[in-house]
């Protein structure tokens, strides 16, 4: 009911009153009859079964789903249409229509589809979201262009009409997709560049060691007969060209497919197909022999380009389907479908075996081939090897790669793969010597230092190697630990993740994304303009979510809305007959992200960390931050660490029900809602694998829509918070500090708190030389006009002011459902914040508003928030990490942008680098008290509850005009509290250290 009433104003603000009146009466019937407008909405909170969603066709057989639909602006669309036929784009679709080749493929995991839906919702309802234009501006569309599906060819108007206003939406939609794929090829002259990927198991028994030629090998391994064949349209006879050029440019064309060969069984390779890549390596006549010789017994990915068909008489040889279709189509692609292509029910079946190869492009906008060429220049590898002698001793040729269970990237040349024997042997013998498994090792190759991190799983070995210049050792260890956990969460265990061929493609995706982010592909810009590589490394190495602290009112709203969803009180939205059924799932908890920030978390810490890892390693937050996502639905089963991989016994007297757990991610615009669902216990038991439940998906979407309604407008306040409000302690730039040191000497003088508070308003204050005006940039923002000089007043001011009118309507509507008690625990700390501030101000006689770092919630930032003592702000940067909650608090990009400068960026680089070191030493000392030394002393010395570690850096400005050199000295301080909380600050050394000590103490109540 609450959902409904929340929707209405959204669709038609004028109807709001009527609906409120209807609340509680016959809401269900009324609304269902009422407006087709609601049905057009993407989130039909009601009758979900009748109105399947766009994602449905893409649900994988396994039940997994990875569906992302990014809103594009019109400009990039036109671009897309021009580029529509670049080879990579349609990789999945051809295979959609054919029977999978082997098990690896059939059972394959996530299903990815990118679709350009041209935003019908917004175009129809321009009042939908005041921000929409703004969001669209941010959408660049670059990187997505290669992945426009066939629907692009369709007439956009037809799509709009068909897509959203009829009951049989999926039929028309999917029908269009299908026929488009076929029609387009004839209508579009560029469509010759069709690409298909085929996975084949090489038939090694057929070939003997004497076979050297790639052509013969190809024939023996796969049953594909190749011929040299010049493309007639593009190349006449290459008479005058040199032999080498000929070899390079000549295409490799399939002449025939042998009977009873893997290729034949796949029913995907046909005469005339052009072989372009093998395992993503471009193949030419020059390297053909070499590449085929290197094929091992593992499945091989062959990439073919489909030939251009010039005349109507050029039907493909193995056509099994009568040709009602346009001549250019390849009937074999639909041949395995049991239904005629026009059948409305077809798409669901057809889309099943899509390999999720596009996730990389979907979420990062990065082209896979570009990633591969990028990776070629970097010595890195993800390997899963086995020590098992049974598997490895069969043949001991030099080229034998039996021990490689999994390899990424599948380059044929990789030094780390060549020396894998070294790693295997090390892991075999080192435990004999030291009693412990190898954690990492460092090798150098051609002067480049490479760190390899290991995890041993029984007889198997999972290792990753990264160059030191890009990934410091501490970071690679973190990546390993996190990936290890993520693999366990996603696949149940690491062994099954790598051993089951069905997960291979999923792993490929995961690792390509991981390498993409971890190796710092220069395209990523994560943390604002000041972000630098080391900063990114540090942020990535903290396994926590950056949180955005909203005002208490908004926080409450978020909690409210999420709680409502979690309560699963869906009575009004369910069919009569369903109403009395058991629920399919239990909602265990949710968490909400906006862009890359966590807004709200209702999950247990461990579950949240699991989910956050999934989101992090699929780069979803970067996607949410960069693009306005039209529709994102991800569904998959997971194995939460808490239930499956934790050794802690459950508390006596109660055991949580066993069952299955599912992760549901729903994204819309910049919001991402993660839901952990439980099947088991009191829920209906159903068969596994389970596809996403449309009902829950639509409910989740409805929940997201609630945040967008006018009277909630969380996005608005988030944006405001991000852009205008100083949501943390104000930062100062090192550059200005350096100038300040020159001109000002009174930095150590202490003045009363009121005076400092006044100073922002009073630029005439002697302290405020123009140099420092940057400090006081924030309070001048329009939102903060109600700034008061007395700190204690300001929270009330704020509550009474702008927020109140925003929040009241919703609160009213929620009425009795409002339960303040159910808000998260962090709220408890909020009340003490302002008082603390007041007390401190009077007690210490200096400005000391640490409440802002005190908890994630009670930020009341209306003024320059200072955590440092002294008359000047000396804070350069601050990061706080709460390991229990998995939350990171750091200044917003805007705040960082405000304190920009050349020197500042150097300072920050050093800050991030030393934080990584400091953090590393915290962890090592806390987790591994040295064991070799049996003296009691050692353990006592290292068993510390809190530690502080600081480094002072000096920068000396180059001398000019024989003036004395000016030096900038600044501290980087890291502090660990109670093992889980960590805080890192960077500040100018001019303030006495006692201030820092107190900042830590007061901030955390130690």
């Amino acid at each position: 009911m609450a959902f409904n009433s929340n929707f209405k104003p959204f669709y038609d603000p004028g109807n709001e009153k009527i609906h409120r009146n209807n609340v509680g009466t016959n809401n269900f019937t009324k609304s269902s009859e009422e407006s087709s407008a609601i049905q057009q909405q993407r989130a039909p909170a009601r009758i979900s079964n009748k109105c399947p969603d766009n994602w449905e066709p893409y649900v994988h057989k396994q039940g997994d789903l990875f569906y992302v639909d990014v809103k594009e602006d019109s400009k990039s669309q036109s671009k897309n249409q021009q580029r529509v036929n670049v080879p990579e784009r349609s990789s999945g679709h051809h295979r959609d229509r054919s029977q999978p080749v082997n098990t690896e493929e059939t059972n394959n995991g996530n299903h990815v589809h990118l679709e350009n839906n041209n935003q019908p919702l917004v175009s129809k309802n321009s009042t939908y979201d005041p921000h929409s234009s703004k969001f669209e501006v941010q959408v660049t569309g670059t990187g997505y262009k290669h992945f426009k599906p066939k629907i692009l060819f369709s007439d956009q108007t037809i799509l709009k009409e068909n897509d959203f206003n009829s009951e049989n939406l999926p039929e028309s939609d999917s029908h269009k997709k299908l026929s488009n794929g076929q029609v387009s090829s004839s209508s579009c002259p560029q469509s010759e560049d069709k690409i298909k990927h085929v996975y084949l198991m090489p038939n090694l028994r057929n070939c003997s060691s004497s076979d050297k030629s790639g052509i013969i090998l190809c024939e023996k391994l796969f049953g594909i007969v190749l011929c040299q064949y010049n493309h007639r349209t593009s190349q006449p006879m290459l008479n005058g060209n040199t032999l080498e050029k000929l070899a390079r440019e000549r295409k490799i064309i399939v002449q025939d497919v042998l009977q009873a060969s893997p290729a034949k069984q796949s029913a995907q390779i046909f005469r005339g197909d052009m072989l372009v890549c093998l395992n993503d390596i471009e193949i030419t006549w020059v390297n053909l022999d070499e590449i085929f010789r290197s094929i091992s017994s593992r499945a091989v990915k062959l990439t073919f380009q489909l030939p251009v068909v010039i005349g109507p008489d050029k039907n493909p040889p193995s056509s099994r389907i009568p040709p009602p279709l346009p001549p250019k189509t390849y009937p074999h692609k639909v041949s395995t479908c049991t239904v005629v292509p026009t059948s409305p029910h077809q798409p669901k079946k057809k889309h099943h075996p899509q390999l999720g190869e596009n996730i990389l492009q979907l979420v990062s906008g990065e082209d896979k081939s570009r990633l591969y060429s990028f990776l070629k220049n970097i010595l890195c590898a993800v390997l899963y090897l086995t020590l098992d002698s049974r598997e490895s001793d069969e043949s001991s040729d030099g080229n034998n790669k039996e021990d490689i269970v999994y390899q990424f990237p599948c380059d044929l040349e990789n030094k780390l793969v060549d020396v894998r024997g070294l790693f295997l042997t090390l892991c075999g013998i080192v435990p004999d010597v030291t009693g412990n498994n190898v954690k990492c090792c460092t090798v150098s190759h051609k002067g480049e230092l490479i760190h390899v991190v290991f995890i041993r799983e029984g007889q198997d070995l999972f290792l990753m190697g990264f160059p030191h210049s890009r990934v410091p050792l501490a970071f690679s260890e973190v990546v390993m630990t996190e990936l290890h956990r993520l693999l366990k969460v996603l696949f149940g265990s690491v062994v099954s993740a790598f051993r089951s061929p069905k997960f291979r493609a999923q792993l490929d995706q995961l690792f390509s994304l991981t390498l993409h982010t971890v190796l710092q592909n220069p395209d990523i810009i994560l943390h604002g303009p000041n972000s630098n590589v080391s900063g990114q490394v540090f942020y990535e190495s903290i396994s926590g979510a950056q949180s955005l602290s909203l005002s208490q009112e908004n926080m409450l709203l978020c909690d409210e809305i999420l709680s409502e969803f979690e309560a699963a009180d869906f009575d009004e939205f369910m069919e009569e007959d369903e109403l009395f059924d058991r629920r399919a799932f239990n909602v265990l908890g949710t968490c909400l992200y906006y862009k890359e920030y966590l807004l709200c978390n209702h999950l247990p810490a461990s579950d949240f960390q699991d989910i956050h890892l999934f989101i992090k390693y699929h780069s979803l937050l970067q996607l949410m931050a960069k693009k306005s996502v039209e529709d994102l639905v991800i569904w998959r089963e997971m194995f939460p660490t808490r239930r499956f991989h934790s050794r802690e016994a459950s508390p006596p007297g109660y055991t949580e029900p066993t069952g299955h757990w599912f992760l549901l991610l729903v994204g819309m615009k910049h919001f991402l809602l993660a839901t952990l669902l439980e099947m088991g216990g009191c829920t209906k038991s159903r068969n596994i694998p389970l596809s996403p439940d449309p009902f829950y998906v639509s409910q989740a979407k409805a929940t997201l829509l609630q945040f967008e309604t006018d009277d909630v407008a969380i996005a608005q306040s988030c944006e405001k918070r991000l852009s205008a409000d100083p949501c943390g302690p104000t930062l100062v730039s090192a550059d200005s500090m350096l100038q300040g040191v020159k001109s000002k000497k009174e930095e150590n003088s202490f003045i009363s708190p009121t005076k400092v508070q006044d100073s922002p308003k009073n630029p005439a204050t002697p302290i405020l030389s123009p140099t420092y005006s940057i400090l006081f940039k924030w309070p001048l923002s329009p939102n903060n006009e109600s700034l008061s000089g007395i700190p204690e007043d300001s929270p009330d001011h704020y509550k009474g002011g702008s927020t109140n009118d925003v929040s009241t309507p919703t609160m009213k509507r929620h009425g009795s459902r409002l339960s303040y008690g159910s808000n998260d625990s962090a709220g408890s700390g909020s009340s003490s914040g302002p008082q603390n501030k007041g007390k401190l101000g009077s007690k210490s006689g200096s400005v000391f508003e640490v409440n802002s770092i005190n908890s994630a919630i009670n930020l009341e930032p209306q003024k320059v928030i200072r955590v440092t003592r002294g008359s000047q702000n000396t804070l350069f940067h601050l990061i706080q990490f709460d390991g229990l909650e998995g939350i990171v608090i750091s200044p917003s990009p805007q705040a960082l942008a405000a304190s920009q400068g050349h020197l500042q960026s150097q300072v920050l680089t050093n800050f991030y680098k030393s934080c990584l070191q400091i953090r590393n030493s915290f962890h090592r000392t806390s987790t591994h008290p040295i064991k070799l030394n049996h003296k009691n002393m050692k353990r006592r010395v290292h068993a510390v509850d809190h530690q502080e570690h600081a480094v002072l850096f000096r920068y000396t400005q180059p001398q000019e005009n024989k003036r004395p050199p000016v030096a900038l000295l600044y501290w980087v301080v890291g502090r660990q509290l109670r093992h889980e909380k960590e805080m890192f600050v960077c500040f100018h050394e001019s303030i006495p250290q006692s201030a820092i000590e107190m900042a830590f103490r007061v901030g955390f109540g130690t």
């Binding site: 030094k415 030291t434 412990n436 150098s444 150097q906 002393m937 480094v951 850096f953």
Partner: protein, 409 residues
Amino acid sequence: MASYLVCLTTAGGVPLFTRTADDLKPLPFPVIGSLNGVHMFGSSHDVTLQSTVTEDAKIVWRVFHDSVTLIAIAQNDDADDCHYSNLLNLVFNAMVLLVGIEEVINMKNVEKFKKEIKVCYNLVDRILGIKGSWGFCQLTNAVEIIAAPENAVLQNFLDAFTEAAESVYGCLFIDGKVAVATKKWWSLSANELVLLSLLLSSLTPCTSRDIPVYLPDSHPTVPHRLMTFQLTRGIEVCVICGPLPSLTELEPEILRFWKPSYDSLRSVLKLSSRNFPTNLALDHNTLGFLLINKETNRCLCSISPTFNGGHPDETLSPSQRKEVLMSFYKRMVGTFFSSVVPGSESGPSEFSHQAMESYITTETHKCYAMMSGPHQLFMIYGEGIPTYAMRSITQKTLSLLTKDRNISV
């Protein structure tokens, strides 16, 4: 520090010797073979295996002059690799010191060399801390000194004695630390200084000895004679000479030259746990310090700087302080600070600005490090000292120690 050391020929992988800590079983031969094998396998693929880390141990490989491979297995104390390679470097130089570089590099008869190399076992054990205590010398690559007010007097005695021995290299060791040395002695390289001082402390005590040494950096091929004479318990004087004079010629001279210094020597010996003059009073929170001069390759260390056994509620015994000071040094140098330890500059060079000071606080102690010109001071304080006070106290201590004329670090 280290638990095992394996030395093999690089070409054939023949084990030359292994050293094992007392409480551990020796490594079985196949393990030694595999440890060397992985390294060889890597180098055949143009990949150099440098180190491997487990939860609590670290294995380091180094090849010297394509002739000798050293593998050390040591406790992993989160230190930069440079500390481990420094140790292996010292081990190799120790072999050169006692056998000569020709023998080590052009090993003709492996069996013969195996016998010859036995002379350096004690020194190697000493360097790696495999047996007995482990000092600051090999860690900092600077020779440890004792700063006594009597040093000025002793310098005259030493100069006179060295001249009588027809040498320019003379040095007086008190309790394993250098009290005074001739100018020429100080001009030796850091490696040589450290190795000579470790060599003296690794040898079993005797009244006088004459051993051939090859100075690894200055004269790796020419043998010199190192003659040592025990003056009294814990005090040795040594000279490095050419072929003359013989030990028997020099022995009678000892009494003549050193008898008048007996009282001074006794009073220096009293300082041997404190290592610096008693008239210098440090802050009562100070539990110990390590002062290094990067230019002169000397270090001064004290783990009982206060008189009355330190602060009443102190938590660390002297040996624990030493341990903490060492681990603090290892954590800092190579990551934030560069030092005379070779390779220690690669870590700090990743920062665009120079790290000047650093501190660590824990529940039992606090540590502070300060760089100032050639000096590096590492301090350890009790937990009672306020964090904000450490900086100024460390600064005061540094100026106190470096300005004092009796202390020539």
